[in-house]
């Protein structure tokens, strides 16, 4: 009886909601905003994946550290939020270079499994260190963008924050694309990921190239965190949840595609918000991310935009 009643209840609510255009539009905007934040963290994952060929699980932790630095610079030191974000991006990039030099470089770059284990270890260490330094109490972090909404339809608001999040992500992906395709550093990056031995043989210094990749990814991750966290509350496990959505976004986009990461992020953000509204099950939000990963791996392991490696023998 109870089960039937609750099932009916869900159905009822859904039917009711289906006809509520404003609610859907509101969730659509929220989905875009969330999606942009997942996309920005996914871009960090993709950058590392492109250069090293593995998923860096410590990426979320470096972003977590970066976001706490944003908190320190903005709330504690009183800097404007945008300036605080820039400072934190630089600081987390420096930390990432240090981490790469000390913990990653001793391992051969083509032995992926030990490296993945090391990044898992780093995830635990950095998350705990953040907990020790800043404690586990939740804090609120201001957004870089003004509050308010320039466009409104009833409860559906296109806020400055949504616009800002989307704009930031498109700017980042544009800059990364230019960096990778038009600069010598970008060429070195792609050469290292394509053929490590030949990269050495043309004189590319592999270690510093990967170190630069870590620094860049950490800075992007920090920026992504600074977009996400103002919607939530800052606490030491916050980026772990974001990381799962971003992993889903990166997997959907194809792991090595920048554009794929952005589209994957937006799709995951929209899917999460719209499905949650339709099913009225906010507890299952995280499960939608895992479901996306599962379906992608089963149906199309290279993702939507991932490159299938062409190699004639």
């Amino acid at each position: 009886m109870v089960v039937v009643a609750s099932l009916l209840g869900i159905f009822d609510v859904s039917l009711d909601k289906l006809s509520n255009g404003e609610l859907w539009l509101a969730q659509f905007f929220r989905g875009l905003s969330d999606g942009a934040t997942y996309a920005s963290v996914a871009l960090a994952l993709v950058m590392i994946y492109k250069s090293t060929g593995f998923i860096n699980f410590a990426q979320g932790s470096l972003a977590l550290l970066g976001v706490y630095l944003v908190y320190v610079f903005s709330v504690e030191q009183g800097l404007p939020v945008a300036v605080a974000v820039l400072c934190a991006m630089v600081a987390s990039a420096v930390v990432a270079m240090f981490v790469e030099r000390v913990f990653i470089r001793p391992f051969p770059p083509d032995h992926v499994l030990p490296l993945v284990i090391v990044t898992l270890g780093l995830l635990l260490i950095i998350d705990s260190a953040v907990g020790i330094v800043w404690g586990f109490r939740t804090r609120s972090l201001p957004s870089m963008f003004p509050t308010g909404a320039p466009i409104e339809w009833g409860i559906a608001q296109l806020t400055w924050r949504t616009i800002g999040n989307l704009g930031t992500v498109f700017a980042v992906v544009g800059l990364l694309y230019l960096l990778l395709s038009r600069t010598k550093v970008g060429l070195a990056f792609r050469a290292v990921s394509s053929n490590l031995e030949s990269a050495r043989l043309v004189g590319i210094r592999v270690g510093p190239t990967l170190g630069f990749g870590w620094a860049l990814a950490a800075a992007i991750g920090t920026l992504g965190g600074a977009l996400v966290v103002p919607d939530l509350l800052l606490e030491p496990s916050i980026m772990l949840r974001v990381l799962i959505f971003s992993l889903a976004a990166a997997a959907l986009g194809g792991l090595d595609s920048l554009v794929g990461a952005v589209i994957g992020g937006l799709v995951v953000g929209l899917a999460r918000n719209l499905l949650v509204t339709f099913l009225d099950l906010s507890e299952l939000a995280l499960a939608t991310a895992v479901a996306v990963i599962l379906v992608v791996l089963l149906v199309r392991p290279t993702g939507l935009f991932g490159s299938t490696r062409v190699e004639r023998v």
Binding site: R190, G203, R309, R312
Partner: protein, 237 residues
């Protein structure tokens, strides 16, 4: 300059506990083509890898009188040593043109683009496919690309590991003609490891025969080609 351009003395190399080279001595004069012959496992590839610090080594490697041993691969490349490794010397995910640009990675002069165009003229098939990913080229085209990629460095010493591997005999012959032409035009010193001994001895000035990680025979290429032991072991007649 007095003395040989490349002088290797007492070169030892090992993969983990397995000693592959047991003290190899050889030298190549500037502008010469030298060939290293030997059976499988004799240490030919390891010798080339040792010159580029891609395997742990002991001994002395002097290039134009300067010691290379102890330097990293990236620094040795900056001294003008280009290496075409066995098999795949290209970047399969990069376009043909980007492969050539990567080959000139350490160059800072303004003539890089001109050199790219020049290689597209030398190997027209590469020019036609400049925007295609290198991985989609055929084996022969990839070998051409790998060699052009190495020459984009404008090296003073070119190391070639089995350039004929997997190539049709016709293509191999034209490849060796290209190499001798480059050697004559640019004066690039070359050290070639090659299974096709008769072809290699035909273009080389000096030859070394490696056996079990040591130099067993050495001398001018034409003398070795006439040597009964070399003929029986490597030329097969």
């Amino acid at each position: 300059m007095s003395g040989p351009y490349l002088e290797v003395q007492g070169l030892k190399a090992a993969y983990g506990n397995i000693q592959v080279l047991h003290g190899v001595d050889f030298s190549v004069a500037e502008g010469q083509i030298a060939v290293i012959l030997g059976a499988n496992g004799a240490g030919k590839t390891t010798t080339l890898r040792a010159l580029c610090a891609m395997v742990s080594t002991e001994g002395s490697i002097k290039l134009a009188g300067e010691e290379l041993a102890g330097h990293r691969t990236a620094d040795i490349v900056r001294r003008g040593v280009a290496h075409v490794p066995q098999g795949r010397g290209t970047f399969p995910d990069l376009s043909v043109e980007e492969n050539l640009l990567a080959g000139a990675f350490v160059r800072t002069d303004a003539e890089v683009q001109g050199d790219v165009q020049q290689w597209f003229e030398t190997f027209p098939v590469l020019g036609e496919r400049r925007n295609q990913s290198a991985g989609s080229l055929s084996g022969g085209e990839q070998q051409m690309l790998a060699i052009a990629r190495a020459l984009m460095l404008r090296p003073s010493l070119l190391l070639l590991d089995e350039p004929s591997l997997g190539l049709a005999p016709m293509i191999t012959r034209s490849l060796f003609e290209q190499l001798t032409a480059i050697n004559a035009d640019a004066g690039t010193t070359m050290l070639v490891v090659e299974q096709n001994a008769s072809l290699a001895l035909g273009v080389a000035d000096v030859a070394y025969v490696l056996e079990a990680g040591e130099v067993a025979l050495s001398g001018p290429a034409d003398e070795l080609a006439a040597d009964d032991n070399v003929r029986r072991a490597y030329l097969g007649y």
